[in-house]
Structures are given as C-alpha cells and as structure tokens.
C-alpha cells in the first residue's frame, strides 16, 4: 500500500516536471500579453536538442542548458512575428507547433544517420538521492533533479511577478500596455524578454522529458504536453503557483494511467492513456469561462490606436 502510494506520488512529480516548465513558460509570456500556443513546438525542439547535445557531449547538464537556449531561439521567431510585426499570435503559435516537430525530426535524421530516434544519452540528469535505492519507498521518492528545479523556477517566477518592480511592469504590460507606455515602460522590450524566457523554459521542459523521464528523443516524446501545459496556465489562472498545482493534477492523471493495479485491471490501457487528455478537456470546459486572462493577452500593442 505504502509502496503503491509512494509510486503514484513519485510518478506524479516525474510526469509533472516537463509540464511545469512548459506551463511556467506560458504564464510568463501571457502575463506580458503574448499568447504562446507554440509551447508544444518549443518543447519538442528542446526535447530533441537536449537529447542530442546530451548524447554527443556526454553531459546531460550541457544538453539541458543548450535545450533552453534552443527553445529561446525558437521562441524568438514568435516574438518577431507577434511583437514586431504584430501578427496574429494564434497563427504564429500554431506555425511554431508545426515547424517544431518537423525541425526536430529533420535534425534527428541528420544527426543519427536517418533514425527518427536519438541514441540514448549515456547519463540521465541526476536524481536527488543519487543512484538506485534499496528501499522501494526511497526509490519512488528519489525524484529527478528537474522536479526540484521546476519547483524553484515556480517560486522564483512568483517572487519576480509579485514582489519586484519588473513583475509589476510585466503585469502592467499584459493588462494595459498603453498605460505602461505612457509611464516610460518599453512594452515591446518587455514582451520580447518574456517570450524569450517562455521559450527557454519550454526548452527546459522538453529536455526534462528526454533527459530525465526517458533517456532519448523519440517522435512521440512530446505528444500534447505543450497543450496540456497551456490548459494548466488557464486552470491555474495565469499564476505560477496555480499553473504548478494544475500541472501536478495533470501529472497525477498521467501517473494513474501507468499505475500497475489499474493497468492490470479490466480497463483497456488505451482508455487509461487517454486520462490526461480527457482531464484536460474537462478542466477546460469547467474553468475556461471563469478564469480571467490578462486583459490585453493576445492583442498586439500599437501606439495611439483608440
């Protein structure tokens, strides 16, 4: 019993970590007024780059950092389209979601002699208690380091958004950019920064999947996590702590779908695999109307337009 519960908790955190990075990326971008539907694409790019760099360098940490960098670079495309050229952010985000997996697969075939999967990395990212544990409960609670990192990033983002002047400015830009502008706050620069950070975090999220949860890049390593992360942003009312909690819930659904005593039950495994996605839809139906997005979320800022 204790083993089962600890397994469930351990898996919940494990599956949540990539979601949390993605969702925090969504929070920071949308708080500044840029809708970022491209999280999925950015996570896929991060997932591949993390695994590939991790494999070639032999160091998972290098892979993880470069994955963030790649996600940030990829997000730059979104920033240029959405902020500088004031393009429709939905379309720009969807474009990234189409480019991301395509790019990742293309590069994967280039780097791994035509294979759609990368070679497994020699060492995954470390776990908090180090190597294998003899005690099953300790083994289950031996979280990936990314689980801790995700928590720290959430705390940091909360502190920045609500306790510092930069946070006040970011939120003002998402709510009322014209007001921010008249007070000398550079709206475009703020949005650029936030979209960039969003991409870096999404890149981390992807790498957290391929360097901690699994050990290599596969075409289905990222399959909907970016969208689930977006649902978590909404469910979490655009706050870091809310999104974090929402991700835990979605991670729990994923953990449940691989829970042994359920997996061996009469419920078909296909139905169990649908759990996280079904939960996402249910949550969206119940909560989308009720939570209030930043007012100018998704609206390009143009000076002097009444």
């Amino acid at each position: 019993m204790l083993n089962d519960i600890s397994l469930l908790i351990g898996n919940t955190f494990m599956y949540s970590a990539p979601l949390i990075f993605g969702a925090l990326g969504g929070v920071i971008s949308e708080r500044s007024g840029v809708v970022n539907l491209g999280i999925e694409g950015m996570m896929t790019v991060g997932a591949f780059v993390g695994a590939a760099v991790g494999f070639f360098s032999g160091n998972a940490w290098v892979g993880f950092l470069v994955a963030g960098l790649a996600g940030g670079l990829f997000a730059l495309l979104h920033a240029v389209a959405a902020v500088t050229f004031k393009a429709d952010q939905t379309i720009s985000g969807i474009a990234l979601n189409l480019i991301g997996p395509g790019l990742a697969l293309f590069l994967c075939r280039l780097c791994f002699s035509g294979a759609t999967m990368s070679q497994p990395v020699p060492h995954k990212l470390p776990k908090i208690l180090g190597g294998a544990q003899s005690n099953i409960v300790a083994q289950n609670f031996n979280f990936d380091i990314t689980v801790i990192l995700a928590f720290l990033v959430m705390m940091a983002m909360w502190f920045i958004l609500y306790r510092t002047k930069w946070g006040l400015r970011i939120r003002s830009v998402g709510e009322h950019p014209a007001a921010a502008d008249t007070l000398g706050i550079n709206v475009n620069r703020t949005r650029y920064t936030c979209v960039l950070v969003s991409g870096i975090l999404a890149g981390f999220g992807g790498a957290a999947m391929t360097l901690a949860v699994i050990q290599q890049f596969t075409p289905t390593a990222i399959s909907g996590q970016g969208f689930i992360a977006l649902a978590a942003v909404i469910f979490g009312k655009w706050t870091p702590q809310g999104a974090y909690a929402a991700c835990l819930l979605f991670g729990f659904a994923q953990a449940l779908s691989v829970f042994p005593s359920l997996a061996h039950s009469a419920i078909p495994s296909e139905v169990l695999a649908m759990l996280p996605y079904i939960l996402t839809i249910v949550v969206l139906i119940l909560f989308v109307g009720r939570s209030v997005a930043p007012k100018e979320d998704g609206i390009p800022y143009e000076k002097g337009v009444r």
């Binding site: 510092t164 009322h176 007001a179 008249t182 000398g184 000076k303 009444r306």
Partner: protein
C-alpha cells in the same frame, strides 16, 4: 508673444500634419504659471494633438516649445515627465486589477534593494500626496472597485507623484457626475494654490467659466483667440469655437401630448449583484412628448433601460408599449414593437466598431428585405440606405460608408446611431445620455433631432445625468432616486435647485426618500 519665464508653457507656431491632413497649423499657446488655462475646441479641432505634442507623444513639424522661458525639445513622454509635465488622459491609463498604489508607482517604483518592491514605503508616499492635496482615495483599493471620479484622482496622483508642476487634463469632466465635477474643480484650485499650473482640454463651456482663468480657442487646427474667461460669456465662447452663432438654449414649442404610448408599472429590477436597483418604478410617456429622467448616476437608470430593452430580467411589474406587455421577452421583440434605443455607451452597445458604417446602419434590419434575401445580404441596398443616412444626418467624412465605424469621431458615431434608430420610425425613442462626450455643435444637432421627432408624434424617453439637458429638452421631468421616480414636474414648473435637491435624496411633497 515674447518668451518669458512668467509662463509655464509657451508653444509658438506649432504645425503638425498626419499624411496630407493638417491637424495643427501655426498654433500658439501661452500659459501663465499658477493659472488654470483651458483649451477649447470642437472634437477634432486639434486640442488633444497639441497637448500630445507638448507631452512628447507626437513631434511637431514646425514650431517651438518653451517651458518657464527656456526652449525645450520634448522627444518622448519621459522627457516631458522630467520637465515636470503630467498628463491625465481622457481614457484613463490605469491597470484595473492593480491597487491604487501599484498604479501610482508603476514605472517609478519604490524598491528596497535589487528591484524588490517596498510597498510599505510606497503606500506612505502615496498617503502623503493624498493628504497634501486633499485627493481622498484609498491607497489599497483596486481600480476596478472604485468610481470613475476616484480613478481620475489616481491619475492626478500619478502625475503629482512624478513631480509634475504642469498638469494637462484631457476632457476631465466627460465621465464625471455633477458632484464629482465640483470636487474636481476644488482639487484644481488646491493645486493652483500650491503653485501648480493646469491646462484643461474641454468643450464644456460652463466648466470653463467655473474653473479657468484664461481660455485659448482653436478651430480645425487653427488658432482662433485667447481670452480672459471673466470677460466673455458662454455664447461668445461657443461661437468662437464653432465659428458661427450657436443656440445654447434649446428652441421648441410647447408639447402637444397625445395618447399614452408607453407605460411602466410598478417595475422591479435587480442589478448585476442581485440587489434591487429599480424599486416599484412607474412612469408614462405620451405621443408627442419628451419625458426626461433626471438623476445622479447609479440610481437605477441603467437597470431601467436594460429592463425595458430586455437586456436584463424584470423581477416584477409590467412594461407596456401601446398596451402590449413586453417585459421578459427579447431585445428583438422590443425592436419589433417599434421601440428604438440610443444607448449610453455608443462604442459598446450602439455600434460594432470594427464593422463598416454601412453595416452598422442596418444592424436591426439586415434580416429583412430589401437588405437581405434568402440569407444573403444585399450590399447595394445597404450601401444606398447608409449613404442616404450619411447625407441626411450630415455625417463626416461623407464617403465613410465603407470605413470602419471606429474611425469616426464621437459626434459622427452618434449621428449614425440616431439616424439608424430614427429611420425605424419608432413609436418610442429611448435616448440615454445622447450627448455624452459631444461638442456644442453636435449637442445642438442631437437636441434638434429629438424635438423634431417629438413634433412628429414620437414618444421620447430621455435619460441624462446632465440636469441642464433634462431641464431644457424635456417636457415632463421625472426625478429618479434609488430606483424610484420620487417626483414629476412639467417643464418650467420648478427650478434647477429643487430638482437637484430631489436627485440627492431631499424631500418634497412630504415624500420620504
């Protein structure tokens, strides 16, 4: 005029063009330090453009700006702020879900170290300002929870917090209640006493008389005159502004009321929060009569209109048009019963701003021939109707039929709405704040149209927060207070003071408020 340090601001020969359109042509403005100077002009005359040049939001093509006798080059709002210029925009620049303090410090935050906010100190600073100028406002209240008048104070505090010596107020009274306007004028005098200088952009003549020392008038981008306010009367200011004689007094013949067209009986309506807003209200409107409802904002006027137009639910009571009950049906049913409504917020309820003017003119009848057939719109017919309306109501620019309604000035947007509603040949025309935010010329036009419709036998229900408007236009004046009609008079029966008292909840005829 010579440059001198007696003047807080001198703008000389300012010219600004947008493309081929000349918004300002060689305009001069000289504002003495420690005075209230109003800038008067119709909508689109260039007042706001001139002030945006001063605030650094636009760069002038030609001309010089001197502050306290020194030539300055104001390239962006930050430079303006450094020079002690503060601007309160007409549409408030406040973040709704921030507190008063957060809004005031934004961009100029009080921090303890490393960018960490020191909200305690910030709150103290705000409190000091609040006390110094008598700008009573709760530093911890959220903007979305406070009244428009309070929000304006926050805007003024924002400017003062940044050390403004010169305050530009863009149409500051457009959204205020009479009481709030009085408070604002008091605050302005406090600021002047402290050595500040104020420029107010306005087209309300009465307030210029009440508040300002000097007034500069501009018309279609041209400088007209600068006058001492004490030396001129309102008529003179109006004609300088419009460029022709204007009737400030509404001219009309006595009403010849016919049968009862519209009747509200013991109506009860709740507001958004579920609290009673309209209490047992009864009123009647006859054909050929204008009934004006006078009252302070928030006494149930909005809820009354929403119930009549079926935008919200009626709790109990009846609303009858020509004897047919229409409460708790649908807005379309209301339109079908020949009730036309000019809503208070023309941008939200009156028009679909991103639709073309032509599309906006058929919002209520696009489903009927000849404007559509078998579900397909007949663009040619719609265009024909729109162009006729544009011509009849002198909407400018005249080729606007296929432009988005957003681009028109407030006065022209209102003309479209009025034209559309009147074209339905209503039995009852409801006009809520029909002249809000309009300039003198447009107000005159709206009032004339209402009276013309009345003379043709239409029943008109006019709801206005401007007591002057109700007193001069309405034949019957109903006073609303806390969702009830507390008294009713014929035009000319009582004076403004009596009605003002009733609006504020004073007693009359032994009725309890």
């Amino acid at each position: 005029m010579e440059v001198s340090n007696e003047y807080a601001v001198q703008m000389h020969g300012i010219t600004k063009t947008f493309g081929t359109f000349c918004a300002l042509n060689q305009v001069d403005l000289d504002v003495k330090r420690g005075t209230i100077h109003s800038l008067l002009g119709e909508n689109g005359a260039g007042k706001s453009t001139l002030m945006n040049v001063l605030y650094g939001l636009y760069q002038a093509d030609e001309g010089e700006i001197y502050l306290n006798g020194e030539k300055v080059d104001i390239t962006n709002p930050n430079v303006a702020i450094e020079h002690g210029i503060g601007m309160v925009h007409q549409h408030f620049m406040l973040v709704d879900n921030f507190t008063v303090t957060q809004n005031i410090i934004l961009g100029n935050e009080t921090t303890s170290h490393m960018g960490v906010l020191d909200m305690k100190k910030a709150r103290e600073n705000v409190k000091k300002l609040v006390e110094k100028y008598g700008l009573e406002v709760d530093p911890d209240a959220k903007i979305e929870d406070i009244s428009v008048g309070m929000q304006q104070r926050v805007e003024i505090l924002k400017a003062l917090y940044r050390g403004a010596d010169l305050l530009i107020l863009d149409e500051p009274t457009a959204v205020l209640t009479p009481q709030e306007i009085e408070d604002l004028i008091g605050i302005m005098h406090n600021l002047i006493a402290d050595g500040k200088t104020i420029i107010i952009i306005t087209h309300k003549l009465k307030e210029i008389k009440e508040s300002s020392d000097t007034c500069t008038i501009i018309r279609r981008g041209q400088y007209v005159d600068t006058v001492k306010v004490a030396d001129v009367d309102e008529e003179e200011l109006a004609s300088k502004m419009v460029g022709r004689q204007v009737q400030l007094v509404v001219e009309k013949t006595p009403a010849k009321p016919g049968e009862t067209i519209f009747e509200v009986d013991h109506l009860n309506v709740k507001d958004d929060r579920g609290l009673p807003a309209v209490n047992d209200l009864s009123l009647k409107v006859h054909a050929g009569e204008i009934v004006g409802i006078a009252g302070i904002d928030g006494n149930g006027q909005e809820e009354l209109i929403e119930a009549i137009t079926n935008l919200s639910k009626t709790e109990s009571g009846t609303i009858k048009i020509r004897g047919t009950e229409i409460q708790n049906t649908s807005p379309r049913n209301v339109v079908n019963h020949k009730i036309a409504t000019i809503h208070e917020d023309r941008q939200k309820r009156g028009l679909v701003l991103d639709f073309t003017v032509a599309e906006n003119t058929v919002l209520e009848k696009y489903r009927t021939a000849p404007y559509s057939k078998g579900g397909m719109l007949n663009r040619a017919e719609i265009g024909k109707f729109a162009n006729q309306l544009i011509k009849d109501y002198d909407v400018r620019p005249e080729d606007c039929a296929n432009h988005p309604a957003r681009g028109l000035s407030g006065g022209n947007q209102q003309k479209i709405i009025i034209g559309r509603e009147v074209a339905n040949e209503p039995d009852l025309l409801i006009a809520m704040q029909p002249t809000r935010g309009l300039d003198v010329g447009a107000i005159e036009y709206v009032h004339k149209t209402l009276i013309r419709e009345r003379d043709q036998g239409c029943a008109i229900l006019l709801i206005s927060l401007e007591l002057d408007e109700v007193m001069s236009v309405a034949d019957t004046i109903d006073v609303i207070y806390k969702g009830q009609i507390v008294d009713s008079f014929k035009q000319g029966e009582v004076d403004e003071k009596t009605i003002g008292l009733l609006m504020a909840g004073g007693k009359q005829n032994g009725k309890d408020s």
